[in-house]
């Protein structure tokens, strides 16, 4: 938290130190184009852009300026260029509608690019029909807040990410909406950053995507109906708190995909009606706690090579399968969760079932071998199979067991 106060202070301080002027941009103003206004402005000036449509091609902001759109002025790139490029520190860019960035396969064109800058503040803009929406490269100590990036992506190849960060540090991405792109928010080599309160929907790949990024936090985001909700790959010490992962449906659709990540914390998230709630591959020392898994196809799939994970105080409610563990993993713990299909009893009334619970059903194993057998879900025969396996486990890993299953949902 402190670092955000620090940034804000810096931004304010930057404006306070220099004597600042204001400029207006409108059709009948002395400066009737944004380019012209930027050319005329001195560092620390504020440019107010009145409503209207501005077709100026690429607009380069290379001074420490504040640009504020009044009445949602439209910057139209006519499908030909990248539109706004911020290439200076201390830029505040707010209140614009940016549309029609051309798709290019040779360059990553963006609606708003922040290029090797610090202390930037991009707020309350709407980016429509862009290849990349907001693109941050080698920048740090900035805020991306309350923007809406809406596209009509059809496939991964012909679309870019809504908010894209590459080699960035200490960025706050907060309360944005990202819809219809490749990834909603993409972070590559991004450290010490926070992704909070964003909403991602209908992105063809991931709602949020971490690559080679460490020590980041995302919290309170909602991921709805994306190719997959969130993918965290090759990253360390990522905190994932209080997010919602909903209705991510499809053969490769996950609420959360973990791949080669270590030392993460997954706490207080809700996974509801996803084909797979969490799919974890080679992920170690992760704590899963206080999460809700509700009516997913598979609440949690743990693939080979996952070790020392600890799953506790989670609620598993009405999932088709609670748990699928592909290989016998070594020292993962599953104690102290609530499983809605736990059929044991609690004679000593301590709230903990007296009989251990085996959350991995035989049928879960069968389906992993023969996916088509899923049509037999909830059939009597499968119930009998599961029951006999429960009595004497043969196929399912013996150490996948909750020794202290809860009788009531953990709160």
């Amino acid at each position: 938290m402190f670092r955000w106060i620090f940034i804000s202070t810096l931004l304010l301080a930057g404006q306070a130190v220099f004597p600042a002027n204001t400029l207006r941009v409108c059709k009948s103003c002395p400066a009737n184009s944004i380019r012209e206004a930027i050319r005329l402005a001195s560092p620390c000036d504020t440019i107010f852009v009145e409503s209207g449509t501005y077709k100026e091609g690429n607009i380069l902001i290379d001074k420490e300026l504040t640009l504020i759109g009044r009445g949602q002025p439209v910057l139209d790139g006519e499908g030909k260029t990248e539109i706004v490029t911020i290439a200076s520190n201390h830029v505040h860019f707010e209140g614009f509608v940016i549309k029609n960035v051309g798709t290019s396969y040779s360059q990553d064109r963006a609606g708003i690019r922040v290029k090797e800058a610090t202390e930037f503040y991009v707020k309350g803009n709407r980016v429509e029909n862009a290849f990349f929406g907001i693109y941050l490269q080698k920048s740090k100590n900035g805020i991306i807040e309350g923007n809406e990036v809406v596209g009509e992506a059809k496939d991964e190849v012909s679309s870019g990410n809504a908010i894209h960060l590459w080699y960035c540090d200490n960025v706050l991405i907060i309360n944005n909406k990202t819809i219809g792109h490749r990834d909603g928010i993409y972070l590559e080599f991004v450290n010490f950053s926070t992704v909070q309160g964003n909403y991602s929907e209908r992105n063809v790949r991931y709602g949020l995507h971490f690559m080679f990024s460490n020590d980041d936090i995302y919290r309170g985001n909602t991921f709805h109906d994306n190719g997959a909700g969130v993918a965290v790959m090759y990253s360390k010490r990522i905190g994932m708190f209080s997010n919602h992962f909903e209705e991510n449906w499809g053969p490769a659709a996950y609420g959360l995909l973990l791949k080669e990540i270590h030392d993460g914390q997954i706490e207080g998230n809700t996974f509801q009606e996803n084909t797979v709630g969490i799919f974890a591959e080679t992920s170690n020392r992760i704590v899963y706690t206080k999460n809700q898994f509700i009516q997913n196809g598979w609440a949690l799939k743990i693939s080979g090579g996952c070790q020392q994970n600890n799953l506790t105080a989670n609620n598993f409610i009405g999932n088709s399968f609670d748990l699928a563990v592909h290989s016998a993993g070594t020292d993962n713990k599953f104690d102290g969760n609530f499983w809605s299909d736990y059929a044991g009893y609690d004679l000593d009334k301590n709230g903990i079932g007296d009989v251990p619970h085996r959350p991995m059903k035989l049928f879960s194993y069968v389906v992993s071998k023969t996916p088509e057998s899923l049509v037999l879900l909830r059939s009597l025969f499968v119930d009998i199979l599961n029951f006999s396996e429960k009595v004497s486990p043969i196929f399912t890993p013996e150490n996948v067991v909750d020794n202290q299953p809860l009788l009531a949902e953990s709160t």
């Binding site: 449906w249 088709s320 088509e372 057998s373």
Partner: protein
């Protein structure tokens, strides 16, 4: 036929079997609702129950009714009535009274808990529908088997076997063949195989309500098309209808040829 239906329905609706069957559902549903106070959970529990119990009871009831009314049937046969009317009337009486027990037994508690107008109304309607269809299918099958077999014990045994086959054995064989044939494309096979069994078919209708998230995990295009669109529902409804019509045609065919 309607006259026979009317009187056999009168007869059955007052029988203690019907009362106990309906009473069981009533108590069961009420206690589930009372314990969990959550419509959706109870709907899910009942969906598991309906697949097991409705076919079993319909099978036993159908066979029992046929054999118990054997002598009365002879009396009816001597009346100026068409043969098929007698058996179809009796069959519809059985299926109708079973369905009435089911609908009242499950419906009244749910109505009391205000299912209509809640978001569970759709699932609940599906539940009722599946119960009714399964009652019709399996009592028809039972009637057909009983008509074919003079020997009560044999008829009863065969009917239970038929139930067991559709409820358990069929799925076992299907699972076995699926796991033995993994190197072949099995999409269509598994779909067609499930459609061939009325219990599986009803189960898939229920899965479409409860486990869409899991079903959407299928990679196959046929599957996704079948399960993900109205097509699946449409085909399932049509085939379920065939599952009623088929045994009924069987009843007609046997009834016309049989000596009493």
């Amino acid at each position: 036929m309607l006259k026979i239906l009317k009187y056999s329905f009168y007869d059955l609706i007052r029988s203690r079997w019907t009362y106990s069957y309906g009473g069981f559902y009533l108590l069961f549903t009420l206690s589930l609702l009372w314990l969990s106070n959550d419509l959706s959970k109870v709907v899910i529990s009942l969906m598991n129950v309906v697949l097991l119990l409705c076919p079993l009871i319909a099978t036993m009831f159908g066979v029992m009714y046929y054999y118990n009314s054997r002598e009365f049937t002879e009396l009816l046969l001597a009346q100026p009535v068409r043969r098929t009317s007698i058996f179809l009337g009796q069959y519809l009486g059985v299926a109708g009274s079973l369905s009435a027990s089911w609908i009242i037994g499950v419906g009244v508690p749910f109505a009391l808990y205000g299912v209509f107008g809640s978001e569970q109304a759709g699932n609940f309607a599906m539940l009722l529908f599946v119960g009714v269809v399964l009652s019709f299918v399996f009592s028809a099958m039972a009637f057909f088997i009983a008509l074919k077999n003079e020997n009560r014990i044999k008829g009863f045994g065969l009917a239970i076997l038929a139930w067991l086959f559709f409820a358990v054995i069929y799925d076992g064989l299907l699972l076995l063949s699926l796991s033995m044939l993994t190197e072949y494309p099995l999409e269509k096979f598994s779909l067609i195989a499930s459609v061939m069994n009325p219990i599986d078919l009803s189960r898939i209708l229920i899965l479409l309500k409860l486990d869409v998230s899991a079903l959407m995990g299928f990679t196959g295009a046929v599957f996704r098309k079948f399960l993900g669109t109205g097509l699946g529902m449409g085909v399932a409804f049509a085939v379920l209808l065939l599952w009623v019509v088929g045994p009924v045609m069987g009843i007609r065919r046997v009834a016309v040829k049989k000596d009493f």
